[in-house]
Symmetry: C2
Subunit: 880 residues, 2 copies
């Protein structure tokens, strides 16, 4: 064999040979273990059969080469030596585990097989050695079952049947009540099962067990599940798997053996203080099961001072090495400490922030690392109300919907807008539950604790407005039925009435009966510090989408650097304005419309004065009227009748007009700047309001630079038509005030055509903003209001990798943005570009925006911190 | 001046110097005249001041350089010599005309000024010379008016006022009743008007008249109208204008003078036979006005044999030279023949075809030229019924709508589907007049003579279906109101009832009261010959959009080379099918749906057997179900009640279901292959029907290769999901028949995202077809059903260059197609690519398809000849 040794390729690696070897050869798990070994940690010894052996196995038509088996044999001998045990020994039997070990973990691959080398003889030796006959036989029957299942392909249920048979015979309910004799009978039946189902005997020989297991791991590389997984996840770089073989250690070998878990920092306070729990004479499962009360790790110092000192030494080293809080599993077998696993400890958002900042203070990591330690999405939890964890245990779950807006809330059911208004005035906490919402419901939404809809989805009207208002919302809960007449809400079999109380969890999309306790969000100093660091590194500017001074103030609190999207339509729904809006829409003469617009002008001007004042010197981008006019008109019979009285217009005329305005596909209809082509007077009024507001503040020595954004353009001629109006009215308004105001005019790119003609856009527009919501909807032919009905099947069939409304679809919107940015810059190199819309706070989308060189991203006020952190991540990950 | 002659640049060209000089220097008109001169034609002599002089004029701050004026002077002297007249001569005064002469004609530029050099003296000489005092003074007053208007900028209305004053004084109604004295008074008043309005005298001196006119032409180059025109039409290549100065000739100088018009071929029969008319002692206006009956040209031979012989010689030469039928204007002044103009004669579609084929037979032109002589769009008229031209003279025009589908028709008004059905059965010619149409109206549309809608446009449902059915249709006639209850149709002030007769002209979009005489289309042998030539040269394959065997047979008559788009949804609206479709939609279990689909299967199979049989060996591409399911359900209360009885389902449940299926933006909703993700059983049924049909024909030894097209895909995973179903069901169906059938599966690219990921599409699809309608709608965010309401303003504001639904928008769809073709070919180089949809017969779009290398275009059966000719044009124009 010595001859082969020098001639053949190295296929098998022990831990001490693993350091520095590519993980694509020895597998990811093994590389980690090798790293721990190189730190001098006591790891149960073992070896790995490399991915190159796997490749050879497939080249040889699924037969392992003799040279591979020879190398394995040598390593087995070495293992006996380092562990001081023998594979076939009546005193101290050596058992091993077998695991698959690709470069990345992958579902579908063969799982662990523990306790290899157990057979009818060694089980007796194990019983003697552990003084625990029951443990030995239970381990043996588990081993046969595992081996039979994953190596010999006998379906799990066959074993379950046999076990049940024995339990039935003895009237036993729990596995733990099986006696040694029962377990011996189970072992016998299991072996029989294997023979019946495969025609083969369960292998008694350890070597045969091992080679069969190695083959099974290699074969599992190409089973259907693994292939599908790789295909679905587009994993092409991952080739072949290794096989990890490691000696077993037992924490249940009498009172000299222990097993436990510990954290390098306290997992509830997250202070830098060692924390752990352990059990004597136990296996890891016992700690998890919580049957016995574990001891605090400090106890160990008293009981086993040497082991404790070693453990402390190890944890300190590990934290220093990985520069992160570690979660360790250890076993002490007959006074000897083994580390079974270490990994970065899971943590809550608050903990992640605290530890990142602490570790910088402790000089363990630098600011950049600290920033990258906190995932931007995690901050969401910090910024929202949550249901107290324990409160859910006894709660009655009514139904589950689709994600819309996170948070949690409690309130009372109300069925009409009037009641909602009245109750909210009285200080009651009310809810909005609807089949779907429309812009008419804005007031009600504002007054509500939370919103629940039967239709829709992440990006339906309810969801978008809820997130904008920072309300908790669940959409697409299609099991609910609202009957406004009888004032009942039915969820499944349960019927609720007015005044009944419900609780919503926007993070898990659950609806509960009654009131559940909620916890308010709290922002720490550590959070503020981390945000400051993020600001230091990010290159993208973060603005906000805000339509009211309140929103603007809130966003400024989170350090938004201006408003990038002020949707002026939201200013028109208040009671004192909607009337004038409707008057304008219903008028059929230019004069009539101008008269109605003149009533809106002072309101609109005041809105802008408020916004400009709130944002102080920060820039404000105002988007001109965008939705189709029919959104401002009522659709219900009684509302139409009321409006007819209000406006002194016959109901039939009103209905004719509403019918005439009806659109088959409003998203692709008469809206955005198309309204201005028909009714230039709307843009005239809005321009006058913006410029007047800026002029009035200029009189108070406040320098305002309004940015006017024209929506839904698709032809340069359209934009030019709008520009002419804006410049003309701006000029006359400034002349009226005798004041010069700097203002710029830009456009939104939300119509796909517009993106592909960005070089022409740039001839006229001074800035532009990608409306990625509409680009997604139009480019995918996918209305977010209608998607709720069929989106579930898309998720079930895994047709989406990611929801394109949450994470920018880089193959579509991404390509368009890249093409547009390039074309745009060919005309106007120094231009401000941004995105607004749902993607403005999604970290993956923000990273994309950073990469293609946009100037701004914009999101709702509460999401500004997430965007700030994500932008910092984008810089740190991409600018090297 | 001889000194200058050699030193300075040439700014002024006479005809004999014009040949070969760039038309950008001497202008387009002059280049034509010079060409005629070079053929030896007797043209009234003249000269042109070049565009370079115009440039110099602007460089000199709008002053003409002396050297230019000097060169003009020399040419004036030469003109006197060649015309044998004198500019200042009491015997035979020379008068000239001045015209602008850019390289292309352009509205907004200065128009013609005739009779320059007339003044208070020369008017008398002219009177003497022509023995016609009235003519002389009328010419003078017209000259002053023209000169005052276009050279001296006095508004036209000022002259009108003066003229009216003189007429009022004398109680005269018509200008022709003015006496010489009256005209002399008018001349006086006109001169006074000019002085009052400009502060300047009307120039009596001919040279001053001329230089002022030249300045006026140069100035008009930069007037607002001309600038706007160039901007709107994106004319950047056209720089500066020339000024054409030509001597006047008169056909009204006593009996020795004549004026007339002639065609080189007969303008009614289009035979190769000289044809013309003329008047003695007359001006051109007299021929046009039709006051005097003109003589046939053959008379001229008798009256002036020399002139006639010369004219015949000229017309033959001209046709040989231009290789096309010419339309000539001539004047004989005192026995001398002058040709004033020649141009290619206007012609009807039938004439164009006949002449093109004739001229090839006469060896005058070759086949390629003949093909290019007929504009593809012209053929439309050949293929449609037309209203007899004279019939319109006395007709009552009711309203005018927007273009939808050409042709003409007469029929009776009917208000309900039942009546329509019944009357049509009785053989009555009925109409469909609706606010808008929906797929439910298919039967009615089928039975109608023509369709008129209040909403919509070129690409609304009504228009698309009408063109598909080859029915005449006008859309967007928003002055009509239909009241189904009282069974009245109101158009403006007019009210119509059941049975009333209306006539529609789909080519002029007009609606007439009563019955107008129509003319049937007739296809000649010449047409067939021209089409054969076209087929010889075209490279694109022309297929058709056809859903029924009848359509397919019709298309084959026009030589369609297969079906590229069979819309299976159209097969489901017949009475015997819609019930099963509705049963499927209303079922809430898989079993229920499968049962309903099983009922549809035999129908669907028969449909395909019929189509395959009709197309024989030509390929048939079948698109699977595309529209949202709610399109198959009724919307009107009474229809719902009826359906409820039919289906034995409660009305409230039915309404709930219909409500649930309602979509905000159906175009972006649950349709196309999205339906299959939710209901795979639909694709299973359709696959079984297609493959069964092919198998059954295979038993009769007919080789069918069905092509299955999956619509509305946007993710590769979606297509793969569909492919799995098709291949699975195809396999089991073929096994059932024991027959192997070749079939292919492709996809439509109508979702913009899909186009940008064409490289991935190509991994799974074997062919694809661009759905350019949806690409346009989604890419422009522009629903064709809603556009009718605001499209007029877009046309008025000239925001469109061309309607993007009629002519493929090359900046958007074009870019996408180019990107997709490139990506696609990177994955699968030899692939069949095509387009289907409205653009499939538009010549400009076909040329684009040819250029980017598509394989097919497809259009409705009657448009196939247009597409064939357009494809030949594309080859001849692009492949050099």
């Amino acid at each position: 064999m010595g001859l082969f040794w020098t001639k053949t390729k190295k296929f098998v690696y022990s831990f001490d040979e693993g350091k520095g070897v590519n993980k694509y050869i020895i597998g990811g798990k093994w590389a980690n273990l090798a790293e721990m070994m190189s730190l001098g940690l006591p790891i149960p010894d073992g070896f790995t059969v490399s991915t190159e052996a796997c490749e050879l196995y497939y080249q040889n038509n699924k037969v392992n080469a003799q040279e591979v088996l020879d190398q394995v044999e040598l390593k087995l001998q070495k293992l006996e030596k380092t562990m001081g045990k023998k594979l076939w020994n009546s005193q101290d039997p050596l058992l091993v585990s077998v695991r698959s070990g690709a470069a990345a973990s992958m579902p579908g691959m063969m799982d662990t097989v523990l306790n290899l080398w157990l057979n009818d003889e060694s089980v007796v030796w194990l019983a003697n050695k552990t003084w625990n006959e029951r443990f030995a036989w239970d381990s043996y029957r588990r081993f046969i079952q595992m081996f039979g299942d994953v190596v010999m392909w006998v379906e799990h249920r066959h074993f379950e049947e046999q076990l049940q048979k024995v339990k039935n015979e003895k009237w036993i309910k729990n596995d733990t009540d099986l006696s040694v004799e029962d377990l011996q009978k189970v072992v016998y039946l299991y072996k029989e099962t294997i023979q019946k189902n495969t025609g083969k005997m369960f292998p008694n020989d350890g070597r045969e067990q091992l080679t069969m297991s190695i083959d099974a791991v290699f074969n599992s590389w190409n089973n259907d599940r693994a292939i599908v997984y790789r295909k679905l996840n587009n994993i092409k770089w991952l080739i072949w798997t290794a096989v990890n073989i490691q000696s077993m250690v037992f924490g249940n070998m009498w009172e000299t053996s222990w097993t436990g878990v510990c954290f390098t920092r306290n997992p509830s306070t997250w202070e830098n203080k060692f924390y752990g729990e352990y059990l004597m004479n136990a296996q890891w499962e016992d700690v998890v099961a919580g049957i016995r009360t574990p001891l605090e790790i400090a106890e160990l110092e008293r009981q086993m001072p040497d082991c404790y000192a070693e453990l402390v030494d190890i944890y300190k080293n590990l934290e220093k090495h990985y520069k992160d809080m570690q979660d360790l599993e250890f076993t002490i077998q007959e006074w000897k400490l083994y580390i079974l696993q270490t990994r970065s400890g899971k943590r809550t958002a608050a903990a992640a922030v605290k530890m990142a900042v602490d570790m910088v203070k402790e000089w363990l990591i630098d600011e950049k690392t600290a920033i990258l330690r906190v995932e931007p999405e995690q901050l969401d939890a910090l910024l929202h109300k949550q249901i107290e964890v324990s409160a859910k245990n006894s709660a009655e779950l009514l139904t589950k919907g689709l994600p819309a807006s996170p948070g949690a809330g409690v309130g009372q059911i109300v069925f009409t807008a009037e009641d909602a208004h009245e109750w909210a005035q009285e200080g009651k906490k009310i809810l909005l539950i609807r089949t779907e919402t429309s812009p008419e419901d804005i007031q009600w939404m504002h007054a509500s604790q939370w919103i629940l809809t039967a239709r829709g989805w992440m990006t339906s009207h309810a969801a978008v407005v809820a997130r904008w208002m920072w309300k908790c919302c669940v959409a697409g809960a299609n099991e609910i039925t609202i009957d406004e007449k009888s004032k009942t809400l039915t969820i499944g079999q349960r019927v609720f009435k007015e005044w009944d109380i419900l609780t919503l969890d926007g993070s898990t999309w659950e609806v509960f009966a009654g009131e559940l306790k909620t916890v308010d969000p709290e922002l720490s100093w550590d959070f503020a510090i981390l945000m400051q660091w993020a600001d230091k590194y990010r290159k993208l500017w973060i603005r906000t989408n805000a339509d009211t001074p309140n929103d603007a103030l809130m966003a400024k609190k989170f350090w938004a650097e201006g408003i990038w999207l002020c949707r002026t339509e939201h200013m028109f729904f208040a009671d004192d304005r909607i009337k004038a809006v409707r008057e304008m829409i219903l008028s059929d003469s230019l004069d009539g419309r101008k008269k109605a617009l003149a009533k809106l002008l002072p309101f609109q001007k005041e809105d802008f004065v408020g916004l400009f004042n709130a944002m102080e010197w920060f820039p404000v981008t105002i988007r001109f009227l965008d939705p189709p006019l029919h959104e401002f008109l009522p659709t219900e019979e009684e509302d139409i009748v009321e409006l007819s009285k209000d406006m002194n217009v016959e109901v039939s005329i009103l209905k004719d007009r509403i019918n005439w305005l009806h659109e088959f596909n409003p998203m692709l209809g008469h809206r955005g700047c198309r309204l201005v082509i028909s009714y230039p007077e709307i843009a005239e009024m809005q321009t006058e309001a913006v410029i007047s507001a800026a002029c009035e503040l200029a009189k108070e020595w406040k320098q305002i630079t309004p940015e006017i954004m024209i929506p839904l353009v698709w032809f340069k001629q359209e934009l030019d038509f709008n520009l002419e109006i804006v410049h003309r009215v701006a000029k006359s308004t400034m002349e009226k005030y005798g004041i010069e105001v700097n203002y710029t005019v830009g456009t939104m790119i939300e119509v796909p055509r517009w993106a592909l003609t960005a070089d022409k856009v740039a001839e006229s527009a001074e800035f532009f903003s990608f409306g990625t919501n509409d680009l997604t909807q139009m480019g995918l032919g996918f209305s977010r209001d209608d998607a709720g009905k069929f989106i579930k099947e898309y998720v079930n069939q895994s047709i989406f990798d990611k929801d394109p409304f949450q994470t920018l679809d880089q193959e579509w919107v991404g390509q368009l943005v890249e093409i547009a940015v390039e074309k745009w810059k060919s005309t106007r190199p120094n231009i401000k570009l941004g995105i607004c819309g749902e993607h403005g706070w999604d970290p993956a989308s923000i990273e994309f925006c950073h990469r293609v060189g946009l100037t701004y991203v914009s999101c709702s006020p509460y999401r500004v911190p997430i965007a700030r952190l994500a932008a910092a991540h984008a810089t740190l990950k991409n600018d090297k």
